[in-house]
């Protein structure tokens, strides 16, 4: 099961977050900060799956943007890895040039919600 879906930039600012399990709002910021810290400390030739507390993080970096998905033990990590890429490709087609135009992305947050 997917626990959460985050898009965070390199400075640690959350660009998009969607939680599929209830997490207290003050705990969310802590969680996001820790998650991005874990992802930033990884080098390029390390694998994209991190074990964090009692679930796994699957992350993928697109220039300055990190997309992190938290999953539990029942999910296929590599399928989720593909899913992230699929998601980015969809956004790319819809908004064109996702990575460099993160501003555009956020402004179309209404449309983004329909993807859920």
């Amino acid at each position: 099961m997917i626990k959460f879906f985050l898009m965070v930039n390199k400075q640690g600012q959350t660009r998009l977050s969607r939680y599929y399990e209830h997490v207290e709002i003050n705990k969310r910021t802590m969680l996001e900060a820790e998650v991005i810290k874990n992802c930033l400390s990884r080098s390029k030739d390390e694998c994209s799956f991190i074990e964090y507390k009692d679930f796994k993080l699957v992350y993928r970096q697109y220039a300055a943007l990190f997309i992190v998905v938290g999953i539990d033990q029942t999910e296929n990590e590599m399928a989720v890895y593909e899913l992230i890429h699929n998601f980015v490709e969809v956004l790319d087609k819809y908004f064109s040039r996702v990575v460099s135009e993160t501003l555009n992305l956020l402004c179309n947050i209404f449309s983004l919600s329909k993807l859920w």
Binding site: T14, L16, S17, H22, I25, N26, R28, T29, S43, D45, E46, C47, S48, F49, I50, E51, Q73, N76, E77, M78, A79, Y81, E82, L83, N86, L103, L106, C107, I109, F110, S113, K114, W116
Partner: protein, 788 residues
């Protein structure tokens, strides 16, 4: 009041903030504006304000005052309003807020709306945050939409049904008729969500699972769909890097796994398709590897034929050699799951796994370490241990504790010689001494006591180790204890294995005193050192006065524990000097205890033992008759006498029995056997013969669990042929923790007056992964020394 700013403006403004405080200020200002706008009941801009509020919520600021506004938006007729309203409901509301129930009527109306997009919104929201009351009310509508021909709605309804079933499991039967036609759809969206729905139903209810296996012929349908996906040519709609809809393939494989688990017919029906997927999938891209990974997991979980299993392990082996880190990680994880069942096949890849220990990636190193420990056996223990010790030297601190414990466990099980064992322990203590777990110290001490011939060698090596550096607490504790016990051997220079070193009594006392004085020593360590010094008063001849002086100094120590010890030892010197030699004499060889602490014989486990035989635990009481009948029924065979495990009657009696065991046991080297090893559960028997009564064999069973979930309510039962008598004492606990992190110990006493070959039938029952497991096995590989 000017029109509220648009969301874009807000985002731009917030992004210009340079510090957290600035951002907070901007957001508070905007929140105030939004609040006043809400109070004015402004319909035109409500949508815009709520959107901004949602953005601020996402950044982590409280937004609860927007909840009612979301409800108002949902009730509006405009689509743009509804859209934001529902989004807000999904993000801000859940069953914890009472307000959410007000939505029920709106959702009900919207589920019957003329526009499919509105219906879709309602379904999404219900499927996201519907509480059990809402689900109960609206399940009928969802079920109706599940049968519609509109695929856009059908797929959303299926996912909503999944949520309903999760919240209110009783409603599962309601959706059963609708699922009949779901898999006949062409639309992949509907197919995908239907598979998710079916998976959820099968996982939740074993009755559903049985129903789907037999009546619905689900497996052939799924096989057909999967085949079409693989065999069909390029389809631009569903293509991902050359493979047609890999996400659906993975889902179907997962459902097949659930259907095929523990079921021969279903497993047979899917053998072909699994082989086909395994051989035909392209492995050059990550997508193909994802599908192969899922296939391998499925093959290992169902009752597949051996050829297929070998194929799966080979695929994993290929993954291990791949350069891509993700794939290697995934391979190591799967091998860890399968190492118990297909041990030999995994052994073939041992060298690759050991190489992974040197990888830079932390996740891979952890997996490789766990797998290496699972692969250690009597043959490869020396080589593996060398690699693991090297790994311990160079790994990150977070691994050291686990690695050290693992090495201790493995060394205990497979040590080829006592000297090697002690050397290995010394090596671990000196390299990772401060990371060793606390319970390792008593275990090590017990091990050292038991290797009688190695005392001199051990104490010499330990002395040399702490001579230079006494900061690693576990090492110092073990060393102090040994020096206290065997100080006389140290001083007399009796070591055979190594060049004996010349040590005087004063030098030994010097080192122990420096441990006592040092700021680095923990309180426990100081206790060890003081007791050691005291013991040396009987072992050393010329320095008794010095010892008396040291001990009396600590009689006024601030540390209460130390003070108490010192005062008592002082009293020993003064008033009870005649008792001193007897009190401080050499420790006897200790009874072998399990690695995670002494087994607690004294437990009221009578209830758990009887409880396992019936599905609902009966309120009280021993029902030995029930157990006997059960065993008879299952074991058949008229030459087997049933055995009733004795519930411990009262504390003193069991305590007495334990003392008897200690009193007359002969710890000869009878080889231990692995009696049972399946599905991650491993049971080992170790034997002891009684000196006083040669027809009694005492078997200690140790049950360990290498899967990733605990096994609970574990009950071990045994039956032996008529000529034997069996007595089962209480087990240490009924939970076997996962990842080999602990064991259950139970003692069995076998009376074999006719000295016949020992045979035993064992029955194991436990709960694992939420389902009750049961197995029968026969143990025939008892070594001759255990019964002759």
């Amino acid at each position: 009041m000017p029109a509220p700013i648009r969301l874009r403006e807000l985002i731009r403004t917030i992004r210009t903030a340079r510090t957290q405080a600035e951002e907070r200020e901007m957001i508070q200002k905007e929140c105030a504006a939004i609040r006043s706008s809400f109070r004015e009941e402004d319909n035109t801009y409500r949508c815009r304000n709520v959107a901004k509020l949602l953005y601020m919520h996402m950044l982590g600021y409280p937004a609860h005052f927007g909840q009612l506004e979301c409800l108002k938006l949902i009730a509006s007729q405009k689509f743009t309003d509804k859209r934001i309203g529902y989004l807000g409901a999904m993000l801000l509301l859940d069953e914890r807020q009472d307000v959410h129930l007000l939505m029920t009527n709106c959702i009900k109306n919207d589920l019957n709306h003329s526009t499919q997009y509105v219906q879709g919104l309602a379904l999404c929201t219900l499927g996201c945050m519907g509480s059990s009351e809402m689900c109960r009310d609206l399940a009928g509508e969802v079920e109706k939409l599940l049968k519609t021909s509109n695929s856009y709605l059908r797929k959303k309804a299926a996912l909503c049904a999944v949520h309903v079933i999760r919240k209110v499991p009783e409603l599962m039967e309601m959706f059963l008729p609708a699922t009949k036609n779901l898999l006949n759809e062409k639309n992949h969206g509907v197919l995908h969500t239907s598979v998710v729905l079916l998976t959820e139903m099968c996982e939740r209810s074993p009755d559903m699972l049985a129903h789907f296996r037999k009546n619905e012929k689900l497996v052939p349908q799924l096989v057909r769909i999967l085949k079409n996906l693989i065999m069909s040519g390029y389809s631009p709609e569903h293509d991902v890097s050359g493979i047609s809809d890999p996400f659906l393939q993975v889902r179907i494989l997962r459902l097949l796994r659930i259907l095929g688990r523990n079921d021969d017919d279903s497993s047979e029906a899917m053998n072909d398709i699994l082989a086909q997927v395994a051989t035909n999938t392209e492995t050059s891209k990550n997508v193909g590897n994802a599908i192969l990974y899922e296939t391998v997991l499925t093959i290992m979980d169902i009752k597949s034929e051996s050829g297929l299993r070998v194929l799966a392990i080979n695929i994993l082996g290929r993954f291990l050699l791949n350069n891509d880190k993700n794939i290697r990680y995934v391979a190591l994880t799967s091998l860890l799951k399968t190492v118990q069942t297909d041990h030999n096949a995994v052994q073939r890849h041992r060298s690759t796994i050991v190489d992974c220990l040197k990888d830079l990636d932390v996740s891979i190193k952890r997996r490789a370490m766990e797998l290496s420990f699972a692969l250690v056996n009597g043959n490869n223990v020396r080589g593996m241990m060398k690699e693991l010790l090297y790994f311990l030297d160079s790994c990150e601190p977070e691994f050291k504790a686990d690695c050290a414990s693992g090495i201790f466990l493995a060394a205990e099980k497979y040590a080829p010689s006592k000297r090697w064992h002690i050397d290995t322990i010394m090596r671990v203590l000196t390299t990772a001494g401060s990371y060793v777990r606390d319970d390792a110290v008593p275990n090590l001490i017990q091990l050292i006591t038991n290797s009688v011939e190695m005392h001199a060698y051990t104490v010499q090596r330990l002395y040399k180790a702490i001579l230079g550096d006494y900061s690693q607490q576990p090492l110092v504790q073990v060393a102090s204890w040994c020096i206290g016990e065997y100080g006389d051997l140290l001083v007399s220079g009796q070591c055979e294995e190594e060049e004996p070193i010349q040590v005087t009594e004063d030098e030994v006392l010097d080192i122990l005193e420096s441990v006592l004085i040092s700021n680095m020593s923990a309180s426990v360590t100081r206790g060890y050192a003081l007791t050691a010094i005291m013991k040396l008063s009987t072992r050393f001849t010329c320095t008794v006065n010095r010892i008396k002086k040291v001990v009396s100094i600590y009689g006024s120590s601030i540390d209460v524990e130390l003070q108490q010890r010192a005062v008592e030892y002082n009293a020993l010197f003064k008033k009870y000097d005649h008792m001193r030699p007897a009190l401080l004499e050499r420790m006897p060889v200790m009874e072998k205890v399990t690695t995670n602490g002494p087994a607690e014989i004294v437990q009221t486990n009578g209830e758990t033992e009887t409880a396992v035989l019936e599905t609902k635990p009966p309120p009280s009481g021993l029902q030995p008759a029930n157990q006997a009948n059960d065993l008879l029924d299952l074991l058949g065979g008229s030459d087997i006498t049933p055995v009733i495990p004795t519930a411990p009657p009262s504390k003193p009696a069991s305590g007495g029995e334990l003392l008897d065991l200690l009193g007359d046991l002969n710890l000869t080297g009878i080889p231990s056997i692995t009696a049972y090893n399946k599905n991650g559960l491993k049971i080992e028997f170790t034997f002891e013969r009684s000196n006083t009564n040669p027809s009694v064999t005492v078997i200690t069973i140790q049950a360990s669990n290498s899967t990733e979930l605990d096994m609970t309510d574990f009950v071990f039962q045994a039956a032996v042929p008529k000529t034997f008598q069996l007595q089962l004492l209480s087990p240490s606990s009924s939970v076997i923790p996962a990842f080999n992190s602990g064991t259950i110990t139970q003692v069995i006493k076998v009376l074999n007056p006719q000295k016949q070959q020992l045979r035993m039938r064992i029955k194991l029952t436990y709960n694992h992964k939420g389902s009750a497991m049961q197995d029968l096995a026969e143990v025939n590989n008892f070594p001759p020394q255990s019964w002759q």
